[in-house]
Symmetry: C2
DNA sequence: TTGTAAGCGTTATCAA
DNA sequence: TTGATAACGCTTACAA
């Protein structure tokens, strides 16, 4: 690898001048600038990012923390972030937290050591008061995740609305017995509380009382979906519709339902969440809630880069709209 | 951020000694080692990777180049690579090439500038003679991709066998008219040539002549699958079975077939490739070729780390086995 | 067994 | 408008 000194030598100028050219500083004559550029070209010179980092420069690298990259929701989100970042001249370091607190902290440390300029968190494992101090070392943006009273930009979806319109759709289709699956708990606080609230609100407005037996917490995978359906099949009083927390759960439920000759949506209507490619491949095609993943990723990158350029920037919360995609499963 | 000097000061020892402790050098007395450790603890010290890199040390960062992270095959592969690497104390920089030659080169440059210790390539966009020179700067391992006569370790699947057993399975089921989809071309050389050969071999052994009309090249997505099925539907002489290049194509074909009341597998048998989660969710469940993605990822990381420790290591090709998963679509 | 000092490739400061 | 020099945090001869 050639260095700045090589370029200086070849162009007959000083390192300083070369550095100025690299960084587009003013006060370099056109003439010398061209000499430098030519030498750089000739040597195939690329600045060494480690040296720049060490020197305290920006690194044009962003970190993204995702829980699991194999979850399509996150892989699409990462894709959008990566593409946007690349166009803006940034690299992306993708970190998979695996829902592990320690691993999350390890990645946040990259900020401390200037490995990344900023971090986009798409999920949070540790308490905010543990994470908060890292904001001293660089911008942190929350994407698809939020914390009350956190003084960082938040790019999020209106999960409440998503659930509300989904459940309402079921009610309009004539359902009264509506089960509900969530990836979190059915608490007032904590993960997915907004979705829970959307479900409760929609039912309440329709004068429907919640049946606690039809609430399934901590559900995530296809397999979980199958299990939920099994439980439903054993009930004397079965729900006629289910609002699920993800297309995968919905898919799992559909498989199991079919295995027991239950017709969707006639015997049981099912609604997913995410609008993954899968949704269109299921039979019947899945009614689901579409989240504008690409937009979220794009916005997150824009915001974090803006913070980099303007650290005083006022932190805002950006809410993306969410929509119901009606297909055949409801 | 505290530095090595801070630790030295606090522990009353020299930077050198601290450095020795960090790097587990011998010749540090137990006593001093503990002093250092204590000081590090107290200051919450983390070595600055940029400084280490600059100094020419290993970076404990590996790069992985994938074409598209949203492709489940690659997201699972990346997942496996990331997990294995993390356990071995390495971070992973994930690079999405988007099948763009320039982007691939940009990432390979990370090796030149010591941003990553080594790179695992899961696809290759540029000609090998363009990539080859980068091996001077650090190990490159090919995973799921290969190049003849390349002097780098290769971790790959026996694609020939995968296709051969799949097509043979169709023949054993009584099919004679077997269509074939590939992501590449139907050339002797180039992408997917091994799969092509497997198809040809299986047919030849059964004394079946290939019908060129039933060869579909350059197929990748769900949408492609739909289009292929449309074309088949318009044929006077239709194939009774299709070997596809991916579960997605297979899925697309199934959707379209159903839309036209064609029964799978009775009217047309379909076989996928990859055994993605999707395969089990389709109706009928998809017969497909399973690739041991996790194993491949693991092996790639093991090999590349070994090369880092032992640069003289002889390069080998590792071939992973591949198997047929028979479900309901054949 | 420990410490001193040089150097990795940059950029910022200061002087010319 | 240009250049010499110090500094970023670390490791490694070399010396003690």
């Amino acid at each position: 690898m050639s260095t700045i000194s090589d370029v200086a030598k070849l162009s007959g100028l000083s390192k300083t001048t070369v550095s100025r050219v690299i960084n587009n500083h003013p006060y370099v004559s056109k003439e010398k600038k061209e000499q430098v550029l030519k030498a750089m070209e000739e040597l195939g010179y690329t600045p060494n990012p480690s040296a720049r980092r060490l020197r305290g420069q920006l690194t044009t690298t962003l970190g993204v923390i995702v829980p699991r990259i194999v979850n399509p929701f996150f892989s699409y989100l990462v894709n959008s972030i990566e593409q946007t970042a690349y166009h803006k001249g940034y690299q992306v370091l993708i970190c998979q937290s695996n829902e592990d607190k320690e691993k999350e902290l390890a990645f946040l440390n990259l900020l401390k050591t200037k490995q990344v300029d900023g971090i986009i968190m798409t999920a949070i494992e540790n308490d905010w008061n543990i994470i908060q101090p890292f904001t001293d070392y660089g911008p942190i943006v929350l994407c698809n995740e939020y914390v009350n009273h956190a003084d960082v930009p938040i790019i999020r979806l209106d999960q409440y609305k998503g659930t509300y319109i989904g459940v309402k759709h079921l009610i309009e289709k004539g359902h009264q017995k509506i089960a509900y699956c969530t990836g979190g708990l059915f608490d007032e606080q904590g993960k997915d509380k907004d979705r829970n609230y959307g479900y409760q609100k929609a039912l309440k407005e329709a004068g429907i009382v919640i049946n606690p037996k039809w609430i399934f917490v901590n559900q995530h995978t296809i397999e979980d979906g199958k299990q939920v359906m099994k439980q439903i099949l054993e009930m004397d009083d079965r729900p006629t519709a289910v609002f699920t927390g993800s297309d995968e759960i919905a898919g799992g439920m559909m498989i199991e339902a079919k295995g027991h000759s239950l017709r969707v949506p006639d015997d049981i209507a099912i609604i997913g969440f995410d609008d993954q490619p899968l949704a269109e491949m299921l039979d019947p095609k899945l009614t689901t809630i579409r989240q504008p993943v690409d937009q979220m990723g794009e916005k997150s990158v824009e915001v974090i880069i803006e913070m980099l350029h303007n650290p005083e920037m006022k932190t805002e919360t950006y809410e993306m709209s969410i929509e119901l995609v009606v297909r055949e499963s409801t």
